[in-house]
């Protein structure tokens, strides 16, 4: 099938090639066949399918590096399919799924299971990370070589920190043998045990168990030492404090192979949003002080923070409708990732190109994916964005199976209008509602 789709009258934004210009794009056989400022300018495209973008942004589909689902094991919270529907609605064409499932993705056959399930059910691309230690227990490293061959794109214990430094050192040394990427979670497990929120005046007034913000930087510093020792490629999945940012900036300056991400909720919310014990505000890393939040905005603007992620972590009513201390951590975020990120552009914090880079070219480069660009020959994973479209988040309108959004009732402008994966339209806002 030689299917052609012509996009015309678009604002092409491709951070990978520093492109930001009016123009057109041609999709052929699921791949980008041509792209450029002069393409389809005169509206004479004879293609059977011509899409007039009306000046809206046409960008590479977003890559979300940090998505938790419930498949396998907790399908009532989220399946690969339901997560993919939420992703498509959010303009996300690749979701990188965490191994924190039941069973844990720590075996080559389970990586294979995720890939086959995704191929059969998911509307967007699903890229699995595998566990770094067996059963996420932080004791015994996984078969990094065989898991890589099976298709694991990186190794992580998800939202768990490996507390045994010797185990982590060996795991990093072993991973570096294969050039594998390790994704770490920085939260000292002893300092943060039992804590629900970040330590501070507000937590004190609420009387909630809290962990110091330094619990993050302590692990960041430790892990950087180990990276220095082992030469492993290392990515901090989500950072949230100014102290972490400073340490990572210094490490990058020393030339260490370190990258980091920030969750949308740590960019948009702070500790006060916990309000009257709203458990949807109980997230990892916890919502921090305003100073830490603005540090995250600065980090994105300066490029020290490489990627913005949703940290999508669907929780059902049974785990969230609880006293705050007993409620589960986590927030859904696939559908609010782009709107939150665009906020940085609207506020003049970062250029549109930089914002989109953290969602496309940067994660693609870190993960080594053939995606996140409008370059000719790459798969036609695309998102059409109306950056002005105003809307208010209503949990009832979310596609995710779980509805635990911390942005309920909050207004944004800018969101995905159409999403394409391999040239197939997987989401069209007009067609839906």
């Amino acid at each position: 099938m030689n299917r052609r789709i012509a996009f015309r009258n678009a604002r092409l934004v491709d951070p990978a090639s520093n492109l930001d210009a009016k123009g057109g794009l041609l999709v052929e056989n699921g791949k980008i066949a041509d792209v450029g400022p002069r393409l389809f300018n005169d509206a004479d495209a004879k293609d059977p399918e011509v899409i007039d973008c009306k000046g809206m942004i046409l960008a590479p589909g977003l890559i979300d590096m940090r998505v938790f689902t419930g498949e396998p094991g907790s399908e009532h919270r989220e399946t690969l399919e339901s997560a993919s529907l939420a992703a498509a609605a959010g303009g996300v064409t690749t979701i990188v799924v965490m191994p924190n499932t039941d069973p844990v993705i720590d075996e080559p056959s389970l990586v294979d299971f995720i890939r086959r399930r995704a191929a059969a059910t998911a509307k967007v691309r699903v890229v699995p990370m595998a566990a770094l230690t067996k059963n996420l227990a932080g004791e015994v490293m996984t078969e990094i070589g065989l898991l890589t061959e099976a298709g694991a794109v990186a190794f992580t214990d998800g939202d768990r920190t490996i507390s045994n430094t010797r185990v982590l050192r060996r795991a990093l040394a072993y991973a570096s043998t294969f050039g594998a990427l390790v994704v770490g979670h920085a939260e000292d497990p002893d300092l943060s045990e039992g804590a629900s929120v970040t330590e501070g005046e507000y937590a004190m007034r609420l009387g909630l168990p809290a962990a110091p913000a330094a619990a993050e930087a302590i692990i960041v510093e430790r892990d950087i030492r180990l990276v220095e020792m082992t030469g492993a490629r290392y990515h901090f999945g989500q950072i949230s404090t100014r102290a972490s940012l400073d340490v990572i900036a210094a490490a990058k300056k020393r030339g260490l192979p370190i990258t980091c991400g920030v969750a949308a909720h740590n960019l948009a919310l702070n500790e006060l949003d916990v309000g009257a014990y709203y458990t949807f505000m109980k997230v990892k890393p916890p919502l921090r002080s305003e100073s830490d939040r603005s540090a995250m905005l600065e980090g994105v603007a300066s490029g020290v923070i490489d990627v913005i992620v949703s940290g999508h972590d669907p929780q059902a009513a049974d785990t969230k409708r609880q006293p705050f201390a007993q409620a589960a951590f986590g927030a859904v975020g696939l559908e609010t990732l782009l709107p939150v990120a665009l906020g940085l552009h609207h506020d003049g914090r970062a250029s549109l190109s930089l914002v989109l880079k953290t969602l496309t070219a940067a994660p693609a480069k870190i993960l080594g994916l053939n995606a996140g660009t409008l370059a000719k020959g790459t798969p036609a994973d695309l998102v059409l964005i109306d950056q002005e479209d105003p809307f208010t988040v209503r949990e009832g309108e979310l596609r995710s199976r779980a509805r635990n959004t911390p942005f309920e009732g909050r207004s944004f402008h800018g969101r995905a209008q159409k999403t394409y994966v391999g040239g197939e339209c997987v989401f069209d806002r007009k067609a839906r509602r």
């Binding site: 067996k134 004791e139 015994v140 490293m141 996984t142 078969e143 990094i144 070589g145 065989l146 060996r170 040394a173 072993y174 570096s176 043998t177 294969f178 020792m229 082992t230 030469g231």
Partner: protein, 322 residues
């Protein structure tokens, strides 16, 4: 009693490692071992160069192969051989190494062969005993007779050390065999590659003056000799490598990987082998490439040469006088 009929080979009265051996000493030991290969292949395998001498094998770690090799070497040279293993000695009753040494010293042995789990144990004994000490393996430090027998095997296969490309593969981190071989081979003019995952290599391995490879396929390209190392069972299940199946997949020597080496390359293993972990049976048992059985034969000859050489030094220095 041996007379001055034979020339001195070793400057030291101990053999603690290959690091301190000179090219001349190594060559002389290999030459002498050649004569003992011939002797061991004849009907009368015995000679009397160690007649009247007492050899004690003190093994704190079990090793059937090395211990019996030394025992046989001593007996073929006419020495009285006493085997002491840790289970029958007072060390298991809490005696310190020094006390054991003092006790043994009082029995006036001429040569003590020692295997110990701690690096430096042979060195310590050599300072406390009046007899010659042969290191039969100390911790992760040295195992000089293994490196010498490997060299003898290589040389008898007609290979020249100068420019020889040798790959040492596997658990270099814990291996005394690797350290002894690296010292000896570099000294003799060979080039050495180490092939292992980073978890099984010391961080400063390149300081040996060797090339480091993490990809076994790349490391094996064009090598003349492949030396496989044993991976201890307790190191296979997560601490250093995640599993035996993963280890075999990436670091096990199979027929396909052997093909990457130079045609006619030799495959060696110090034994005992973990088949299906570091080496495929198809390779280990392939008489076209594997010289593993030959290594065992050379082991007896080289140990005869070492004991002979050390006994000459003892006679000259008269260290055995009351």
């Amino acid at each position: 009693m041996t007379t001055a009929r034979a020339e001195t080979i070793l400057k030291s009265s101990h053999l603690l490692g290959t690091e301190t051996l000179s090219v001349g000493e190594i060559t002389a030991l290999l030459d002498l071992a050649d004569t003992y290969v011939a002797l061991s292949r004849s009907n009368n395998k015995k000679t009397d160069v160690l007649k009247g001498r007492t050899l004690i094998n003190l093994f704190f770690e079990a090793s059937t192969r090395t211990q019996s090799s030394f025992e046989l070497a001593g007996k073929r040279l006419g020495a009285d051989v006493l085997n002491m293993s840790v289970k029958t000695s007072s060390v298991s009753k809490g005696e310190t190494l020094i006390d054991t040494a003092t006790t043994l010293n009082a029995m006036r042995p001429d040569i003590l062969v020692v295997r110990h789990q701690d690096s430096g144990a042979a060195e310590l004994l050599s300072r406390k005993l009046d007899c010659g000490v042969v290191n039969a393996g100390d911790g992760s430090h040295e195992h000089p007779t293994q490196a010498l027998l490997d060299a003898l095997t290589i040389r008898r296969r007609g290979r020249k050390f100068e420019g020889l490309l040798v790959a040492i593969c596997g658990d270099v981190l814990h291996s005394r065999v690797a350290r002894s071989n690296i010292n000896l081979l570099l000294k003799m003019g060979a080039r050495v590659r180490l092939i292992a995952p980073r978890t099984l290599l010391p961080g400063d391995a390149d300081r040996f003056g060797v090339e480091i490879f993490h990809d076994m396929r790349k490391g094996l390209e064009g090598v003349d000799v492949v030396m496989m190392l044993r991976l201890q069972l307790e190191r296979m299940s997560g601490a250093f490598v995640p599993s035996t199946r993963e280890y075999f997949r990436f670091y096990g020597l199979d027929a396909e990987k052997v093909k990457l080496a130079r045609p006619g390359a030799l495959v060696m293993h110090p034994g005992p082998m973990n088949r299906g972990v570091e080496i495929d049976s198809a390779v280990a048992d392939d008489i076209e490439v594997s010289v593993i059985q030959e290594q065992v034969e050379m082991g007896v000859a080289i140990r005869m040469a070492v004991l002979d050489a050390l006994s000459r030094g003892l006679a000259v220095e008269g260290r055995n006088a009351p």
